[in-house]
Structure formats: structure tokens, C-alpha cells
């Protein structure tokens, strides 16, 4: 039962976790930073353009330039806003975006100084529920920011965004219940282990094979939770008079925009962990390679990153293909299509599992 307790005092353990948290946070930050660059490049390439290429070779320093610009912009706090909450909004958005990564198993354990170092910050019993908890808190960044701006349009956009997120959380949760029936656990490490060791180097035991509909629903909902086009109603710049961050400027605006990219990366990681075998490399059986454990861990980590980047790319690809939904269409899709579909998926899965067990 060791490890199930969230509080075990062991200084090496604490140091290890601190380092891991630092690493994961900085990784998310760097990835999000370059996701902004990738977004612009992908958009450009899909539109037959070249994209940013002036700052550094291939424009690789562009994110730094953008960040620097945001830092040096004038910071405006509207006089009529409630100041503490106005500052709290972007902070919350950022914190909730970063919190999710705590339960992701990034790879197989490393072995350093004769200690097995798990590359998962917290392998808690309720991993998936934790993700839901954090995702459901993501609403507050939007709502508080929108309300504190003391601007009608910000408030309306915030409420638009919050109702969207609440609606799609439901379908997201329901789509995962079917997955949980397969694994019988909410623990992320168990879910990943469940997908290892199938045919074709693990590929045939990936959950996406058993739960294609569940994955599609989860994918759509993840896109809605990240406020990505076609679900970017909360921040529709031109059509709906911008969004909840209308009054924000400087790095506080940057935080909001940045949080979106972190969310995108993390949801890519969550999707690959839940449905695409996590750190499992398909078509080969890494266990038989007879190389050092650390190398295996690094390969697994790169695999997971690769999968996550693929999803990030798909997000971008969709963004530059599909136009934005209207609000009633959005609500119809969420409540009248996805939730019943997820329920049907759940019931069918339950029956199949029962039938197979007989």
C-alpha cells in the first residue's frame, strides 16, 4: 500500500519530485512556447505561405521575441475592474493548465544512483478524476477574468466560455467511463500498463482499437475544453467582439494565450496516454532489446512526446480547416449528439464486457 498515500516523508523522494515537477513544468512551458511558433508555421504552410522566418534561422527565436514583446507592452488594469481578481484570472488559467501534468506517467522508471525514479509526479489512485477536477477548475480562469474586467462583452464571453466548458466536460467524462470499464482502474499507470504487451508490439492492445467512438468523443471534447477552433467561441476575436481577455494586455494576456497552448499540449499527452498506449513504442517490443533501463525510459519519453506532438498538429490542422461553430450548434453538438453517443458507447461496452466474461 506504499505510494498510495499522498504524504510519505522521504527527503530523497521530495527532492526527486521537486526536480520532476520543475522539469515537467519547464517542459510544458517550452513546448507551449514552440507550439505558438508551430501554430504560425502550420497555419502558414496550410495557406501556402512561409510563416515567421526572420527571428533566428527559420524564425526559431520568434517565440522569444513574442514573449519579450508581451513583457514590454504597457500593462493596463482598467480602473473600474476589481484589481485582485483581475490579476488572479490569468494566474488561475496558467496554474490549472500546468496542474494536469502531475498524474501523467511520462515514461518507464529511470535508474539513477540505485534508485528507481518513477517519471510520474504522483501515481494517485484517482488519476483520471484528478484530471477532471483540474479541467473543471479551468473555467474559473475564464470566468474570473471576464467578470473582473467589468466589461459587458468580457462577461458575456466568459459566460459563453464557461457554459461551453461545463457542457463538454460531461460528454468527456461519459466517454471515459467506457474506457475505465476496460481497465478497471482510475490510476494512470495501470491504464498505460493495460495497453502494453498486445500484438504488433503493443499496438493491438491500445485502447483506441477497443474504444474508437470513445476516443472521437474525447478528442472533440478536449478540443472544446482547450477553446480551440472550431470551439473557440470564448475568444472569437472578430465576430463576437473578442473574448474574456478583451481588457487584458501585456503578459497577463500572454498568460491566457499561453495557457491555451499548454492545455493543448497536455490534452495531447492525456489522449496519447489514455488511448494510444502512452509511452509504448508500436511495432517493436522494447523489453527484448536488452539495453539499459535509462535508455528505455528515454525512448518511451520521446515516443510519448511524439504522439502528443502529433495530436497538437492535428489540433492545428483542424483549426485551419474548419470554421467556428455557432453557439446553438455548439450546444446541440454537446448535449444532443455527444452525450447520447457517449452513453450508447458506455452501454455497449458494458454489455460486451459482460458477454465476454461469461
Amino acid at each position: 500500500m506504499q505510494g498510495m498515500y499522498l504524504l510519505v516523508v522521504d527527503w530523497y523522494f521530495i527532492l526527486e519530485k521537486f526536480l520532476l515537477v520543475g522539469l515537467v513544468v519547464s517542459l510544458s512551458m517550452v513546448v507551449a512556447m514552440y507550439a505558438t511558433y508551430a501554430e504560425r508555421k502550420v497555419a502558414a504552410f496550410l495557406q501556402d505561405r512561409i510563416g515567421p522566418n526572420r527571428a533566428g534561422i527559420f524564425g526559431l527565436l520568434q517565440p522569444l521575441a513574442d514573449g519579450g514583446k508581451l513583457f514590454f507592452k504597457e500593462e493596463i488594469i482598467p480602473l473600474a475592474s476589481s484589481k485582485a481578481l483581475f490579476v488572479l484570472g490569468p494566474m488561475l488559467a496558467m496554474i490549472t493548465a500546468l496542474l494536469t501534468s502531475a498524474v501523467i506517467p511520462w515514461s518507464t522508471p529511470l535508474r539513477i544512483f540505485d534508485r528507481n525514479i518513477s517519471l510520474q509526479i504522483a501515481d494517485i489512485n484517482i488519476g483520471i478524476l484528478y484530471i477532471f477536477g483540474v479541467v473543471s477548475l479551468g473555467v474559473y480562469g475564464i470566468m474570473i477574468g471576464g467578470w473582473a474586467s467589468n466589461n459587458k462583452f468580457s462577461l458575456l464571453a466568459a459566460i459563453r466560455g464557461a457554459s461551453q466548458m461545463i457542457s463538454y466536460e460531461l460528454a468527456m467524462g461519459l466517454s471515459l467511463i467506457a474506457l475505465l470499464m476496460l481497465t478497471g482502474s482510475l490510476q494512470m499507470s495501470v491504464i498505460v500498463n493495460h495497453q502494453l504487451g498486445g500484438g504488433l508490439g503493443g499496438l493491438l492492445s491500445w485502447h483506441v482499437i477497443y474504444q474508437p467512438l470513445g476516443f472521437v468523443i474525447f478528442f472533440i471534447c478536449a478540443m472544446a475544453e482547450c477553446n480551440r477552433t472550431p470551439f473557440d467561441l470564448p475568444e472569437a476575436e472578430n465576430e463576437l467582439n473578442f473574448g474574456y481577455h478583451q481588457e487584458y494586455s501585456s503578459m497577463k494576456l500572454g498568460f491566457y494565450l499561453f495557457a491555451e497552448y499548454i492545455n493543448m499540449f497536455i490534452s495531447g499527452v492525456v489522449m496519447s496516454t489514455l488511448f494510444f498506449g502512452g509511452y509504448d513504442l508500436p511495432f517493436v517490443n522494447e523489453e527484448t532489446w536488452n539495453i539499459h533501463q535509462n535508455w528505455l525510459a528515454i525512448i518511451g519519453f520521446c515516443t510519448l512526446l511524439g504522439k502528443a506532438f502529433f495530436f497538437v498538429f492535428v489540433f492545428m490542422w483542424i483549426r485551419w480547416t474548419i470554421p467556428r461553430f455557432r453557439f446553438d450548434q455548439l450546444m446541440n453538438l454537446g448535449w444532443k449528439r455527444l452525450i447520447p453517443l457517449a452513453l450508447i458507447n458506455m452501454v455497449i461496452t458494458a454489455f460486451v464486457i459482460l458477454w465476454l466474461k461469461k
Partner: protein, 166 residues
């Protein structure tokens, strides 16, 4: 004092402070946000008791869903000082007396109860983990569990009926 105790005191102070701020805040939106902070510290207490499922469900349901609806309503109503009704001084006094009486009753009831002898089991007991909790709910407590689910279902049907009536 070990880590658990430090955390316990920290969370208790946070919970009490948050609860006080809920009552004393002038702005209802601030009250709701303090209430969310209170829920978080209570969830922290659950984690100290190794009731992980309860902790996270508390956050998802209360902090994540119900409080959002509260915020919705309060933000749209645009409550502020000018709309706040004037309170009668006698009403305040009556409220104070009633509250004090309630506190007295609570203290008296708790003093003689067995709770003072039972301390919470910290770091032991796995009943709060999701597997055990689920097993308990669907075996020992299956009847109340199903009844409550029927209650929720009827509430949902009622909500749909009200929503359809235009």
C-alpha cells in the same frame, strides 16, 4: 509535529478563514471564491484521511460545477452595494441571538457525544479509495444509493419539463 500535523493545522486555518470570509465579504462574487477556497481546504483534509475519491469528487462537483453555476447567477445579477437591502438593527440582533443559540446547542451536543474520544485515522484505512468505496456502495449501501439515484433522475426529468414549458 510531523508533516501531517502541519498540513492539518494549515488546512484547518485556511478552511476557517475562508469560511469567515464567505460570510463577511461585501461582494457576493468574492464570497463564492472564498467558498471555493474553503472547499479546497476541506478536500485537503479528505486527502489527509486518505479519502482520495471523496476529495476529488468534492472538487469536481462542488468547486468545479456547483460553484460555477453560483458564479453564473451572481455575475449575471450584478449584485453590489446599492442593490443590497437595508437590514433592520433588530433583525441583526435576532440573527445574532439565534446563531449564538445554535452554537451553544452544537457545543453541548458535541461535548457529550463520543466524537471527542474518536480521533480521525490519519494515513490508515483504505475505505476512501475508489475501489473499496465502490464495493461498499454497491453492496452494503446499495438501496440508499439506488434511491438517491432515482431522486437525481426525477430531478433531471423535472428540470427538462420546466425547461420545455415556454
Amino acid at each position: 509535529m510531523n508533516v501531517t500535523q502541519i498540513l492539518f493545522w494549515f488546512l484547518s486555518v485556511l478552511a476557517l478563514f475562508g469560511a469567515l470570509m464567505v460570510v463577511t465579504s461585501k461582494n457576493p462574487v468574492h464570497s463564492v471564491l472564498w467558498l471555493i477556497a474553503t472547499f479546497f481546504s476541506i478536500s485537503g483534509h479528505y486527502i489527509l484521511l486518505n479519502a482520495q475519491f471523496l476529495a476529488i469528487v468534492n472538487i469536481i462537483v462542488y468547486a468545479g460545477a456547483i460553484m460555477v453555476l453560483f458564479l453564473f447567477v451572481i455575475m449575471l445579477m450584478n449584485l453590489n452595494k446599492t442593490t443590497e437591502p437595508k437590514k433592520n438593527r433588530w433583525l441583526k440582533l435576532a440573527g445574532g441571538v439565534a446563531g449564538g443559540c445554535l452554537l451553544l446547542v452544537f457545543i453541548a451536543a458535541l461535548k457529550s457525544s463520543e466524537i471527542t474520544q474518536q480521533t480521525a485515522e490519519v494515513k490508515t484505512g483504505d475505505i476512501g479509495l475508489i475501489k473499496n468505496l465502490g464495493r461498499e456502495l454497491f453492496s452494503t449501501y446499495v438501496v440508499p444509493f439506488e434511491i438517491s439515484s432515482i431522486l437525481f433522475l426525477s430531478a433531471m426529468v423535472g428540470a427538462v419539463v420546466i425547461g420545455k414549458k415556454e
